[in-house]
């Protein structure tokens, strides 16, 4: 016997809803409206002489400074340094956090043993580790990457651990009915079910990784976007500072957008109110 017409049309409508987009225009375009008009009025204000150019150079001057830096090859060097630090620190932090959270989330004994300590460490503002890291690892790359890893660690850990603990016991029972072992239940039920919460944690971790790369580079660096900030301050060149801020915004938004695409693909099965929310 076939499912009723009502059942069939419900599924068809659900499929149609999945395919349709609520807005005709690409939403990204709306996002550009505000910064574009701000930049325009800022440029106009500078042109009319309403603002002090030395302290608040117009977008065109910032762009020229960045172009100059790009031409000399310096910009690439700074960008590469910062991206390398964020990338390696983020990957390290997410990896360690995920393994630990998978363990504390699934093994009750380990949770009782480790989780209180991890939660206590979380209470320390991560920047407070800087002096100790410098003392231990010097001022070169190691303490910077570790600080960024620490930033990415806690949101990821919390996301996966709470995600695993929130998994419906009834789904775990289905796994037991079909003879999944401990590892099978973790891999085939707990991890997929906790995935949305895990990815949300990773997204928060990426945000903190970007925040901490600045802290790391401000504590002493010879290259990187954070170095550019200090350099601009020392030389009284606001255009360099603004240029570095712009690049931070651009890179932060870009990496976040990439992660959001991954999250949407991986969690398309969720029955959420707004698609991709």
């Amino acid at each position: 016997m076939m499912p009723s017409a009502v059942e069939t049309s419900l599924a068809a409508r659900a499929a149609a809803l999945r395919a349709a987009s609520p807005l005709k225009l690409p939403p990204a375009l709306f996002g550009f409206l505000l910064p574009a008009s701000l930049a325009l009025s800022w440029e106009l204000a500078a042109f009319e002489g309403w603002i002090t150019l030395r302290l608040l150079p117009p977008p065109s001057a910032v762009a020229a400074t960045l172009a100059e830096l790009a031409q000399s090859g310096e910009l690439t060097r700074h960008l590469r340094a910062t991206l390398f630090r964020v990338g390696s620190g983020f990957v390290l932090g997410v990896a360690v956090a995920s393994v630990l959270a998978a363990l504390t989330g699934t093994v009750e004994l380990l949770r009782r043993l480790l989780d209180p300590s991890i939660q206590a460490l979380r209470a320390i503002p991560s920047i407070a580790w800087v002096p100790l890291f410098v003392l231990w690892f010097g001022i070169f790359e190691t303490p910077k990457i570790l600080l960024i890893a620490l930033g990415a660690f806690f949101p990821t850990y919390l996301g996966l651990e709470s995600g695993i603990r929130a998994v419906d016991r009834k789904l775990v029972e289905v796994g037991r009915i079909y003879h999944l072992g401990r590892v099978g239940i973790v891999l085939r039920i707990l991890v997929p079910a906790a995935l949305p919460s895990w990815l949300t944690g990773i997204r928060g971790g990426l945000g903190l990784a970007w925040m901490f790369v600045i802290a790391a580079e401000l504590m002493g660096a010879s290259e990187g976007l954070g170095y550019l900030l200090i350099d601009g301050q020392m030389s009284g060149n606001a255009a360099i500072i603004l240029g570095a801020l712009f690049l931070f915004a651009l890179l932060g938004k870009l990496t976040d957008a990439l992660l959001v695409i991954v999250i949407r693909r991986a969690t398309a099965w969720q029955d959420s109110f707004v698609r991709g929310a």
Binding site: M1, M2, P3, S4, V6, E7, L10, A11, A14, A15, R18, K170, L171, E173, V174, R176, I177, Y178, H179, G184, R188, I189, P192, A193, L195, A268, W269, Q270, D271
Partner: protein, 247 residues
């Protein structure tokens, strides 16, 4: 043959859920378990499914003691319990052993999906299914291994009356194909009288078998027939007596 001998279950917190159930069920019968809430009927099903260990007593399926979940047993719960991240095909294939070749798994899953009338929805995600369709998918997952023993824990109670009636007919049709032993926990006396060969009335806690009714009316059964109504009246009477005793 399903043999249950002096089966008792006491939970860790001291609650006695079942106190000595004895039962022998011939293969291919449909058994309904009814009783007031808290009488241990769900505990009995969870013990049969291997989700709980008995405190004492044994369960044997064809002479072999049951220890934990077995591929010979399929379970459908009150909720569909589908994995929301898997489509219907993969949810149904979830019931198959993982060492089986992928092609054989797919073929068996497709056959089970066809048996419950869900062909065409293999790629649908659980969130796109109605309650009835989701429960069909859950039934397909339980059937995919062709179990000897099919356990149904109030599987239709969340559905509306018309859909429930259709699924009753479909379960009977599927049961007739390879005649597994079917144990149905329900609080719906019409459902019990309509489907079952044997109706157990449990009372408790702690759960004991209060009465056993055999129901040999030929199928399809007519709920308006005199014999159906008489059976239903007797069930209701026994159940009321149980509830009185509990209160």
């Amino acid at each position: 043959m399903l043999e249950i001998t002096r089966l008792s279950k006491r939970y860790d917190n001291g609650t006695a859920a079942l106190a000595g159930i004895d039962l022998v069920i011939d293969p291919g019968r449909i058994v309904a378990v009814v009783g007031p809430s808290g009488c241990g009927k769900s505990t009995l099903l969870r013990l049969l499914a291997g989700l709980e260990r008995p405190s004492s007593g044994t369960i044997r399926l064809d002479g072999a003691p049951l220890e934990g979940p077995s591929p010979k047993i399929g379970v459908v719960f009150q909720e569909p319990r589908l994995m929301p991240w898997l489509d219907v095909l993969h949810n149904v294939a979830f019931g198959l052993p993982r060492r089986m070749p992928a092609r054989a798994r797919t073929a068996m899953a497709l056959r089970a999906i066809a048996r419950v009338g869900l062909s065409g929805f293999e790629r649908a995600l659980p969130k796109e299914l109605s309650g009835g369709m989701a429960q069909r998918a859950a039934l397909a997952r339980a059937l995919v291994t062709r179990p000897q023993l099919l356990l149904l824990d109030e599987p239709f109670s969340a559905l509306d009356a018309r859909l429930r009636a259709r699924l009753h007919a479909e379960v009977l049709r599927i049961w007739a194909e390879d005649r597994p032993t079917l144990v149905l926990v329900t609080h719906d006396l019409d459902e019990a009288a309509l489907l079952a060969d044997l109706i157990l009335v449990l009372s408790g806690p702690p759960g004991i078998v209060r009465a056993v009714y055999t129901n040999d009316q030929p199928r399809p059964r007519d709920p308006r027939s005199l014999s159906f109504q008489m059976l239903r009246a007797r069930l209701l009477e026994t159940l009321s007596a149980c509830e009185h005793a509990a209160a």
